[in-house]
Structure formats: structure tokens, C-alpha cells
């Protein structure tokens, strides 16, 4: 047996006999399994609830009675953000964003009923998911089982004995790291099982699942190498433990929160209320449909009259009120889009800044990769918001067009004074049924992988750094041992 394998086998035998090691591994494996089971079942449950609500909303829309189309514009529609399959592995920001959006004419509502506002402060302790267990607890188990791997043997003089038998320091470091990697594999196993399940049964994209598996394996390998190296470099096992736990606390506990505060401080965002007011102001500047002498709407009327070659709106072959509604919607919608894109850009800048702290924290790097590959990052929510806005615009304009084409101007103008006209402006509910339902298009695999790339690169950097550290530790040990 090669010395490396021999050392690894010995270390594993030692761990298998130690009560603490057994307990730690059992605990984290059980936790990981519990997390995987609850995350998968919760994910499935909330997906079921959402599709049930979506079906209910679609049914209710289709079932509305004969109405004036503008009533339907305000009746609006509810859409629900479907949960991606891999949310059972890493729900990401799902609980922190609303999952339902009310769409109506000339208003943009917020996505509501996110779990974070419906939960007690316990939600801020972190959610027990397979992702959380590996990100936060996995490294700690590796540290506890590995901090003494080399330091202990040096303290007891065993290391010197190895060296006199002709074992190289590099082989010791490699062997210990190999043993610890087996532990990492055990920690990872339930999560890999969950990924396999989600791929085979849940229909998740295999490439995304593989990316997750590779990312987490790399992440744990960083900690395996760091733990082994620090164990070799530290003057005593106590110092090794202290510095490793400190590094863990910095990476997994401190950095994520610091990153949040730094990013928010550097790039604050306006509140919703201020944005609403800003949009209203801009709208007034372009055209005010309440103002009978508004230049924009006067010009609009003139151009409509010219197009149809008539002198008065009453003579148009279409209902002018419907045309006004379409023009108004076009204006508000373009402003919504401009402000939303600005907000998305602000948020991307914030998130980028937070990810930059991944330079000091591999946990931030793996978190970003994990959410991106699972499709539960903020980009996924933005995609939902964007598609929902496009859908909102499409159905509202469709209803406005019905108002323009199926109603006469004269009926529409006296619908409140003449009961007969009031009856005629209610159009056949078949039109509601013909309105297409909202279909969410999730991120394609290549989009998800693209979003995961920064995190993947950062992790690659960390892996190289940890490898370098292990190499340096071997050199140091070699010189000290000789």
C-alpha cells in the first residue's frame, strides 16, 4: 500500500473509533437528510399550492360575466411564480420575495406574501436546507475532525517517527487530506441523493444538478485542504482549532451579513412609495389624460383623426375611448419598464458588490453559485417580474383593443346615463376565455450556468489558493521534519 493510502486508512480508522467523530458525522448526515426531506416536501407542497391558486385565478378570470372591457382591466389577473425543481435543494431567495403578483391596468403592484414577512424572526437564523447544511455546517465538521490530523501527531512525536520511516511530508498532508475528503463525501452524500431525486423524479436539469454537485464538492474540498494545511502549519492543535473556527466564523457567519450592509450602504435604493410618485410625475410630464388641453393627447387625437381621415372622434370607425386607453397604457408601461430596469440594475450592482466579498469568503462564492444553478437567485425573481409585466401589458392592451373595436364611441360615452347603452357596452364573456393564460418561462440551463459562473470562478480561485496552502504546508513540514 502506498504511504498516502496507508496514512489515509489509518486516519479513517482512528476517526471511526473516536466517539466525537462518530457523533459529529452522524449528526451532520442526519441533519442533511432531514433538511433534504423537508426541503423537497416543502418545495413540492408550495409548488402545488401555487399551481392550485394559479388555476383558481385563471378559472375566475375566464368565468367573469359580460362586462365593459375596462372593468376587466381593473379586475386584473393574479399570477404566481412557480418554484423551480431545484428549489428543493436550495430555495434561495424564494422566501424573501413575494410569490404572487396582482396585475391590473396602469398600476404596477408588488409581489406579495413572501414567507419572510409571514414568519417570526426565526427566519433570520437561516433555513435548514441541504444547501445551508453544507454551506454552514459542513466546514465545521471537517474542522472538528481535521484540526488535529497533523498537529496532534506532531504534539505527540508521531510525525517525526513517520519521517524517520521515510515518509515524505507531502505524503502525510495528502493522506490526511484524503481521509478528510472521505468525511466530506459522507457530508455531501444526502445532498447528492436529494439532487439525484430532484433530477430523476422532479425533472430538474441534469447539468444544473451536476454544477451544484461539483460546486459543493469543490467548496468542501477547499475546507479539507485548508483544515489539513492549518493543522500542519499551526504551532499546536489548540491554535489550529482556534484559527480554523475563526476562519469559519468569518466566512460563514460574519461575511454574508457584512456584505449585505456594505452593499446597501454603497448603493441604497429608493422606497416603493418614492418610485410610485416619481413615475406619476414623469407620466404627467409626458401627457395628462385628465387635462382636456393636454398637448400630448391633443396631438394624439389629431394624428388618429388624420389616419382615419375624419374630422371628429365621433366619426371614427373605432371607439376613441379605447384608443385613449391604449395610448395611456403604452405611456405608463414604458415608464414602469424604465424604472424597473433601473431598479434591477441597482440590485445587480448591490449583489455584485456583495459577491465581491466572496474574495474573503468561499461561503459567499458557493452561495451565489448554488442559488444561480438552482434558479432561485434574485435574477429568477426578476425574470418572473419581467415576464409578468409583459403579460400584464399584453392582456390590458388586448382588453383596451376590445373596448376600441367592439364598443361604439356613442355607447361608451353614455353608458352611465342610458341603460340600453350601458347594456351594450358589456361584451360577451367569451373574450375573457380567449385571453391567454400566463406561462412562466424559467431560466434556460445555459442562462442558469451563466449566472453561476462568477461563483464558480471564485470557488476555482479558492480551490487553487487552498491547494497552494497545502503545498506550502508540506514544504514547511518537510523542512521542520528534516
Amino acid at each position: 500500500m502506498s504511504p498516502v493510502l496507508h496514512i489515509a486508512a489509518n486516519e479513517l480508522r482512528l476517526m471511526a473509533r473516536a466517539r466525537v467523530a462518530q457523533l459529529a458525522i452522524a449528526l451532520v448526515v442526519i441533519l442533511s437528510a432531514v433538511a433534504a426531506l423537508t426541503a423537497i416536501s416543502q418545495g413540492r407542497e408550495s409548488q402545488e399550492i401555487r399551481s392550485r391558486f394559479q388555476a383558481q385565478a385563471d378559472r375566475e378570470f375566464d368565468g367573469q360575466p359580460a362586462r365593459h372591457p375596462h372593468r376587466m382591466v381593473h379586475y386584473g389577473h393574479f399570477v404566481f411564480r412557480p418554484l423551480p425543481a431545484l428549489a428543493g435543494f436550495d430555495p434561495g431567495v424564494d422566501a424573501f420575495t413575494g410569490s404572487t403578483l396582482f396585475l391590473e391596468g396602469h398600476r404596477q403592484n408588488s409581489a406579495n406574501f413572501g414567507d419572510v414577512r409571514q414568519s417570526s424572526l426565526l427566519v433570520r437564523f437561516g433555513q435548514l436546507t441541504p444547501a445551508f447544511v453544507i454551506q454552514a455546517l459542513g466546514p465545521l465538521v471537517l474542522i472538528f475532525l481535521g484540526f488535529g490530523a497533523i498537529a496532534r501527531e506532531r504534539d505527540s512525536g508521531l510525525l517525526r517517527l513517520h519521517f524517520t520511516q521515510g515518509v515524505r511530508a507531502g505524503q502525510v498532508v495528502l493522506g490526511k487530506a484524503a481521509a478528510l475528503s472521505v468525511v466530506a463525501g459522507l457530508i455531501l452524500a444526502p445532498a447528492l441523493g436529494a439532487l439525484a431525486w430532484l433530477t430523476l423524479v422532479g425533472g430538474a436539469a441534469p447539468v444544473a444538478a451536476l454544477t451544484l454537485a461539483a460546486g459543493y464538492a469543490a467548496y468542501l474540498l477547499v475546507w479539507v485542504l485548508a483544515t489539513t494545511s492549518i493543522s500542519a502549519l499551526a504551532p499546536s492543535s489548540r491554535t489550529a482549532l482556534a484559527s480554523l473556527v475563526a476562519a469559519w466564523a468569518l466566512s460563514a457567519i460574519l461575511a454574508p451579513r457584512l456584505a449585505t450592509d456594505i452593499a446597501l450602504l454603497a448603493a441604497p435604493q429608493p422606497t416603493r412609495l418614492e418610485t410610485d410618485i416619481a413615475i406619476q410625475r414623469d407620466l404627467k410630464k409626458i401627457g395628462d389624460s385628465h387635462n382636456p388641453d393636454d398637448p400630448h393627447f391633443n396631438a394624439f387625437r389629431a394624428s388618429v383623426l388624420k389616419t382615419y381621415g375624419v374630422a371628429r372622434v365621433e366619426d371614427l370607425p373605432v371607439n376613441y375611448r379605447g384608443l385613449i386607453a391604449m395610448e395611456g397604457e403604452r405611456l405608463t408601461s414604458s415608464l414602469f419598464e424604465r424604472y424597473a430596469e433601473r431598479q434591477f440594475a441597482d440590485q445587480r450592482r448591490q449583489s455584485g458588490m456583495a459577491l465581491a466579498l466572496g474574495l474573503v469568503s468561499p461561503t459567499l462564492a458557493v452561495r451565489s453559485l448554488s442559488m444561480a444553478a438552482s434558479g432561485t437567485d434574485l435574477e429568477g425573481h426578476r425574470r418572473f417580474l419581467r415576464q409578468a409585466e409583459a403579460y400584464r401589458y399584453a392582456i390590458v392592451q388586448r382588453l383596451n383593443r376590445l373596448q376600441a373595436e367592439r364598443l361604439t364611441f356613442s355607447d361608451d360615452s353614455k353608458r352611465n346615463s342610458d341603460p340600453e347603452a350601458g347594456r351594450r357596452v358589456r361584451i360577451d364573456p367569451g373574450a375573457w376565455r380567449q385571453t391567454p393564460d400566463f406561462v412562466y418561462r424559467p431560466a434556460s440551463t445555459s442562462e442558469a450556468l451563466g449566472a453561476a459562473t462568477p461563483g464558480l470562478l471564485l470557488l476555482g480561485g479558492w480551490l487553487a489558493l487552498a491547494g497552494g496552502l497545502a503545498w506550502a504546508a508540506s514544504r514547511r513540514l518537510e523542512r521542520a521534519g528534516a
Binding site: 409581489a111 413572501g114 414568519s119 417570526s120 424572526l121 489548540r238 422606497t271 418614492e274 442559488m371 434574485l378
Partner: protein, 417 residues
């Protein structure tokens, strides 16, 4: 006292002592500064929206008062509400980063307005904020572990234990030493908080309350450290056991409790009630006006004798079915709220067993930044909305013209609301 001074000198000469305490003090200062910056930003936002809102209102007033239609005034005028942070909010930001602290409402049906959210970066909200409550709950115990895990075992490993125990036979030696270290940790974490609280204008009672909670929490961890240390294992083993205890008590068990509480108290009513309320409000357009108004007059008898609606559209009827829409979901609204309160109550119960959850519950309650505070803000909005409705009703039901001067008479959100 001179004995304690001697112990202090001894302790501060240790290699890890000063850097560790300095680190904790620094983190505590950073958290207080970060919290105060955030709260200042929120206060500034609240101040900034007032003139914005006034200008908005002036624009609406200018065109509405042309024909004096009160229905338009009520429909187009938004009224700002806000939730001013308490003096202690900087120390425990809680839900203030995900729940709106400024919200505009109109005299229309409330249930489609009150659940509106705020725009925030969910990726940043996910890990939570770096506030003082976080430093106290998560980091201070780690520092205590660093300073206390080798209190006895360190002396034994240095070969001084027997001598120490023989010298004078003072039983209080370990109590003194542990008390000294815990006291220094307390000062390092609490001093920046006291400074921040003083600058934020917190009362002495509030500060003492927070300090008492912090003191109890640190005392708990000190006892845990001493308990583990008393078992007579090596410093390394103590460190490992204590760190594992910390992980289980502050990360694992609260996360498990969260899962258990949320699945035991589902709150699906939120979505259900908004779907149901929309149906009720919009069905109002298709129901006979007389029936709608009759139902409304059963609640608001005072308008029963106003002139009947004969035209195709009248604001009376419109605002009547808006309000009836809210009333139709009163039951699910109550159920939704009960579900949320039940989650909060269970968390408080968990806090009795889990110190980390307990200290967070207590701090956020005192700071007024928890779920209960969010619900209290919603209650104030409900009361304000009621005043708004009652302000507009006389104009609408008596068909009184709404003039420019009437805008100033509308109810204003007051801090005491």
C-alpha cells in the same frame, strides 16, 4: 479589589486576551454604526416623502376641484402613512428591511392595499443585517468560548493547577476569573450599544432592559463554558465541545424550530383573502345597486336616508361595494392574523428554551421591529383608513362639492395613530 486588579493584569497579559476583546468591541461598534446609519436613512426617507406627498396632492387638487367631484378626490388622493423607528431600532433592525415602513393608502378597499410590499434586494435580505443583536447573539458567545474554554484546563496543562488550588484554598478563584472575563466581554459588547442608545435618545429604562437581557444571555454562556470546563477534559476538547454546543444552540435548533413552527401554523389565508376580496369587490359592479347599498346601509346607517341612486354610475354605490368587499373577507383576515400571531407566540415559547431565540425575541420586541410591530403598524393603517373613509363619505353621500380647500381637511397620519 486589589486582588481583582492583579487578576486583570494577569489576564490581559495573555496572548489572546486583548486582541479578542478588541475584535469584539470593534464588531460591536461597527454593528451599532451600521444600525444607526440604516435607521437614519429610514428617518430621512420618512421626512423626504412629506413634501413629495404634498406636491402630489396639490396636483390632484388642481384638477379635481375644477368640477368638485368628491368621488374623484377620494379615488385619486393617496394618503401617506409611516412607521417611525423606535429609539432602540438601530440595535435590532428585525423586519424593517423587508416590510414597508412607508405606505400610501386610498379610501378604496383596503385589503388590496395593506399587504403591499417594499422593494428590496432579496439576495441581501437573505443573510440578515449586521446589527447589534446579531453581534450579541452570535458572536459574543464565540468570544466567550475563546476566553473561557481553557480557564481551568489551561492552568492544568501549564502545570499550575495544583499550586493554584493549594495556595490559600480560595474557592472563589475560578468564579473571580470567569466573572472578570465575562465582565470584560459584556463591557466590550455593551459599551458601543450604550453610546448608540444615548445618541438615539433611548430611555434609561429601555437601555437597562436591553443590558439585562444581554447580561443574562452572556451569563448563560459563561455557565456553559464553566460547566464544560469542569468536566476536566483538555483545552482542545473543551473548545471543540463548546463550539459544537454553540452551533447546535444558535444555528441548528432555531432552524429546526422555524421549520416546525411554520409547518404547524400555515398562513395560506393571505393569498386566499386577496383572491376572495377581489371577487367580492368586482362582483359589486354586476349586482343590483339597491341590494349593494342596502347591505352597506346596514353597516353605515347614517347614510340610509340620502337620495337613492338612479343613474348608471354613482360614487356612493362604488364606495359602498369597495367597503363591502373588505367586510366580506373579515373572517379570513382574522384567521390570517391569528396564524401570524400564533407563529410569533410559538417563537416566544421556543425562546424560553433556546437562549439565542429568546434573546432575539426580547431584543426585537423591545426595539419594536418584530412581526408584532409590523402587525401593529397595519392596525394603525386600518384605523387611519377608517378615518379616511368617514372623511370622504359626507361629501360623497350628501353630494357635497369637494373644493380645493377641502383637501387640507383630510385626516393626516399622526405619530400617535
Amino acid at each position: 479589589m486589589s486582588h481583582l486588579g492583579q487578576e486583570l493584569q494577569l489576564f490581559l497579559r495573555q496572548r489572546l486576551a486583548v486582541p479578542t476583546l478588541a475584535l469584539l468591541a470593534l464588531l460591536s461598534v461597527v454593528s451599532v454604526v451600521a444600525g444607526m446609519t440604516e435607521i437614519r436613512r429610514q428617518v430621512e426617507t420618512i421626512a423626504r416623502i412629506q413634501p413629495l406627498q404634498a406636491a402630489e396632492e396639490a396636483v390632484v387638487a388642481a384638477w379635481v376641484s375644477r368640477d368638485g367631484d368628491a368621488g374623484n378626490a377620494a379615488y385619486y388622493t393617496f394618503h401617506a402613512t409611516w412607521d417611525r423607528p423606535s429609539a432602540l431600532a438601530f440595535a435590532a433592525l428585525g423586519q424593517r428591511d423587508v416590510a414597508p415602513y412607508v405606505l400610501r393608502v386610498r379610501a378604496l378597499a383596503l385589503e388590496s392595499q395593506i399587504h403591499e410590499g417594499e422593494t428590496y434586494n432579496a439576495e441581501l435580505a437573505l443573510p440578515g443585517r449586521f446589527d447589534w443583536a446579531f453581534v450579541l447573539t452570535f458572536l459574543a458567545p464565540l468570544i466567550l468560548i475563546v476566553l473561557l474554554h481553557d480557564l481551568i484546563s489551561g492552568e492544568r496543562e501549564a502545570g499550575r493547577l495544583q499550586a493554584l488550588q493549594a495556595a490559600g484554598g480560595r474557592t472563589g478563584l475560578w468564579t473571580h476569573r470567569a466573572g472578570l472575563r465575562a465582565g470584560l466581554v459584556f463591557v466590550a459588547v455593551a459599551a458601543p450599544f450604550i453610546a448608540g442608545a444615548a445618541m438615539s435618545g433611548a430611555s434609561a429604562v429601555e437601555v437597562l432592559g436591553v443590558l439585562a437581557v444581554a447580561g443574562l444571555y452572556l451569563a448563560f454562556w459563561t455557565l456553559v463554558c464553566l460547566g464544560v470546563g469542569a468536566l476536566g477534559r483538555s483545552s482542545v476538547a473543551n473548545g471543540a465541545v463548546l463550539a459544537a454546543t454553540w452551533v447546535v444552540l444558535t444555528l441548528v435548533l432555531p432552524a429546526l424550530a422555524h421549520i416546525a413552527i411554520n409547518s404547524a401554523n400555515p398562513v395560506r389565508q393571505g393569498v386566499e383573502l386577496t383572491l376572495a376580496q377581489r371577487e367580492a369587490v368586482h362582483a359589486g359592479w354586476d349586482k343590483p345597486k339597491d341590494a349593494t347599498l342596502a347591505a352597506f346601509f346596514r353597516v353605515h346607517t347614517e347614510w340610509r336616508d340620502t337620495p337613492p341612486v338612479t343613474s348608471g354610475f354613482h360614487w356612493k354605490w362604488y364606495y359602498a361595494f369597495q367597503h363591502l368587499g373588505d367586510l366580506s373577507v373579515a373572517d379570513p383576515v382574522r384567521a390570517y392574523r391569528r396564524g401570524l400571531e400564533s407563529r410569533d407566540a410559538w417563537t416566544a415559547r421556543v425562546g424560553l428554551v433556546l437562549p439565542a431565540a429568546g434573546v432575539q425575541t426580547a431584543l426585537h420586541r423591545m426595539a419594536g421591529t418584530d412581526l408584532a410591530a409590523q402587525l401593529a403598524y397595519q392596525d394603525r393603517i386600518r384605523a387611519f383608513h377608517e378615518r379616511l373613509r368617514r372623511f370622504y363619505y359626507p361629501y360623497i353621500f350628501n353630494e357635497t362639492p369637494f373644493r380645493e380647500g377641502d383637501f387640507a381637511k383630510a385626516p393626516r397620519w399622526a405619530e400617535g395613530d
